[in-house]
């Protein structure tokens, strides 16, 4: 039964994909793309209605029949209201997201409701993952966050997502497929015990003293906007000279290369995990760092965008998806 159901759903999604093609976002849900079927409670209600009809006819009871028809009509009206709950809703989504394996990939959807009625219990789901349920007030928009737990490093891609509702009563389920790809770049879980390569190299090395000199005064240079106030050479300024800035030596100026080849002999995923940990550590230490993977090299830098680029490179390593 379950296999039959899945086969039917697969057919429907394929057919729907052929029918609508790739959707451009934001998408307004039109009546042509809303499908609706009774849920198992709806089917149970239908059986109950048949029983009510038979009872009414058998006892030849006009009031009984009338009451049965009232419940039946109630179900029909509920079907229309369920359909309406999706109709005209605008959906948008940020198609790419990043996550660490073992965490959750968070997709951000935007539901925009122009109509003067509330949209209750709108579920957004990807494949068989647990849905995000949201209600959008009349003439408002709302952000819905869908968290999908991810275990494995790599690229998670959904060709479509589903917007569905069972409101009101849960007798019917109306849904629509939005054929817009969702991609999650899942970087490896940060693991590994090795210290950053530069720090390791510094031990018992001449560079150590240089590193110690992190805060050492190295001379004056001309003022540039954006320099921290505590680095200003106030005395120079007080003497009537030009605004100058004290500069210091330190390793911060020296980019660190996080190298694939530095981890020779470690298993691939463990290597990637170690690299990921280094990336996060370097970023936290606000050092500039570069990443070298076989076939990929990311020039040294730092900041959110740089970190993201490195993590994506780690996520897509060995897959055929370009970061």
């Amino acid at each position: 039964m379950n296999r039959l159901r899945q086969a039917a759903i697969a057919r429907l999604t394929r057919w729907s994909a052929r029918r609508h093609g790739r959707d451009s976002l934001p998408l307004t849900i039109t009546k042509r793309r809303i499908y609706i079927v009774p849920t198992r409670f709806g089917i149970a209600l239908a059986l109950l209605l048949v029983a009510m009809l038979l009872a009414g006819l058998n006892y030849n009871s006009n009031l009984g029949l009338g009451f049965g028809f009232l419940i039946g009509s109630l179900a029909l009206v509920a079907m229309h209201h369920c359909h309406r709950n999706l109709l005209g809703l605008k959906v948008d989504v940020r198609g790419e997201t990043d996550a660490l394996a073992g965490g959750a990939a968070r997709f951000e959807f935007l539901l925009h409701n122009d109509a003067p009625v509330e949209r209750c219990d709108i579920e957004i789901r990807c494949a068989a993952e647990a849905p995000a349920t949201h209600s959008v007030a009349a003439q408002a928009y709302d952000r819905a966050l869908l968290d999908i737990p991810v275990v494995q490093r790599g690229v998670l891609r959904y060709e479509r997502f589903e917007v569905r509702t069972r409101y009101p009563f849960g007798w019917f389920r109306a849904w629509t497929y939005v054929h817009a790809p969702l991609t999650a770049f899942i970087a490896p879980a940060p693991r590994g015990t090795l210290a950053l390569p530069a720090a390791a190299a510094a031990v018992g090395n001449a560079a150590y003293s240089e590193r110690r000199g992190d805060e050492d005064f190295a001379g004056l240079r001309a003022y540039e906007a954006g320099v921290p106030l505590k680095h200003m050479a106030w005395k120079v300024l007080a003497r009537g000279g030009d605004a100058a800035v004290r500069s210091y030596t330190g390793l911060a100026a020296q980019p660190e290369w996080l190298e694939w080849s530095a981890l020779e002999g470690v298993e691939v995923e463990a290597r990637l995990s170690q690299l990921c940990r280094w990336v996060l550590q370097s970023e936290a230490a606000q050092n500039a760092y570069g990443l070298r993977l076989p076939g990929t090299e990311i020039a040294p830098g730092r900041g959110a965008a740089h970190r993201l680029a490195c993590l994506r490179a780690l996520a897509t390593y060995g897959t055929d998806v370009a970061p």
Partner: protein, 665 residues
Amino acid sequence: MSAAPLAERVTLEPLLWITACLALALAPHVAALPIWVTATVAGAAALRVLLAVRGRDAPPRAIRFVVSALAIGLLFVQLRTFNGLSAGTALLSLIAGLKLLETQGRRDIYVITMIIYFLSLAALLQGESFWLLSYLIGVCWLTTSALLRLTSSASPGQWRRSVRYAGRILAQALPLAIAFWLFFPRFGGPLWQLPQDGGGATTGLSDSMSPGDITDLANSDEVAFRVRFSAGTPPSDERYWRGPVLHDFDGHAWRRTDSGPVRPPQLLLDGPAYQYTVSLEPNQHNWIFVLDYPSHWNVPRGFLTSDYMLVQPTPIAQPLDVVATSYSHARAGEPLSAGMRRRDTRLPPGRNPRSLRLAQELRAAHPDDMDYVHAVLDMFRDQPFFYTLTPPRLAEDTVDGFLFDTKRGFCGHYASAFAALMRAAGIPARVVTGYQGGTYNRFADYWIVRQSDAHAWDEIWLEGHGWLRIDPTSMVAPERVEHGLNDLAVAGQALTSRWQQRTPSWLRDTRLRLDALRLLWRQRILTFDQNSQMQLLGWLHIPEPNGQKLAFVLAGCLISGMLWLTWQVRRDLILRPRDPVARAYDTLCKRLATVGIPRSPHEGAEAFAARVAAQRPDLGSTVITLCRRYSDLRYAPSATPDARSAAAFSAGVRAFRPRGSRASS
């Protein structure tokens, strides 16, 4: 499909709501349910609520299983069946209670709502009043609101909104339900035979009579049936409504034995014919009360028995309308068969010896049958016999006790004694029970026959005459026959119930008016059938109405109903400004869009008007005027837009009907 929202635990508040709904749905059944079933359901609900108050879940599965098995087993032992309406209702109520006990998730809520719907239906299969229907629709509304509230993730405390939304859905369902009800084909009879536990208790006359029986009925105000005469009303001494005819006398009570399908002896009908409609209340009996002596009737499978009772094969479980014709007089067309003569002259040996002796003495003095009958009736009239609603209790030989000791009795006593005396003289006699008289409702021209109009009389066979109706009660209390029981008092004793005496006339009138409404409800709603549907089709000017056309109309209703619903729900989505000026401006823009000049979202009123004027010079001046007026109303420095100029603007827009498309410009 994930079960996450369904597994959600049911907390106290939803539980209380669903319990309240169940209690309301069970209320109409309580009287008919075995008392322990009600107690079990109440106990289960109380226990579950108590557990929820303590913040605990349903009791463990093992306990629930044992309780369910015990309760359902006990019910089966008591009823011996789960088939039929009352047994089914009891079972369903019990299951609802047990389900409540194990309620944990939303799934259980669905099951309970479905049981509530079905219990409501079951109540309507038995009951028939307008109030019951209204009440149950109210229960259905509340239950549906609860379902809506409990299955959506709305924050708690939004009950009012749920009730309003469910009410709106129910209101939209109502027209559709009425259309279905009107045009769904009726089959007239049951689809299959059910065990005749009869949804309700039997009421009214039964197929046996001991002298005190009818006295119980005399205190009942319940309506037995209503009659409307279509042409001419028979005088009161001819309004005898024939019910069960009793033949077997055991010295104490009279009983009816089924004679089986025997062809009724031919009748030569005579006298004026009366045509009328009897609207019977369900009484769970097979017989149909008609006026003596029926010649035509429209009961599909009805037939006359050998003693001229009109019966149908199934008990009357639903309100039934019968159109019949009766003749007030009839003569036998053939002699009495030997079997029937034997049956109607039999007396139990050794019982009522004093009466037998009296009969022998009288018979010796009056060898002619007619003389003998008169002698017996004279005895009732001349001797101190009294008509009373509270006769003294009688011993085993009721006829002896009544004739010689108490001399006080009700119609049953007189009919019983008279028939016994006739049989003792060898004259075939039988007791006929039924109703006599009735109350005229002058507000709607029909007669109400209540249980208190129940009566018993006799029929005797005289050679040359055939069966002859004799009402011995009329010898003692002629008013009973002429005015009916309610206006009668004999021997200083009030025959009417105290309530009736004290009722002021305006209240009695109100009661009659209400009864007229009840009859209308019955005729229009309760007895709506195939014929009514054909009449309805005829009224809709559909030529030669038949079942097939009915199906077409039903399909048409379904399709137009769906279209109507689509329109109804789409309308919710359209943003309509509350402000009449803005609404009128919307209309203006919409009308211009239909002729090919849509307003761009960024365009102001005056810029738009200028563009319209450029594209369609013929519309230009009107549109410019309207748009300027709109700008004034909206943005003029005098701020407060006065109602008059707003109305003028709206009227201007209403009158503006541009024609032609861009192509014509």
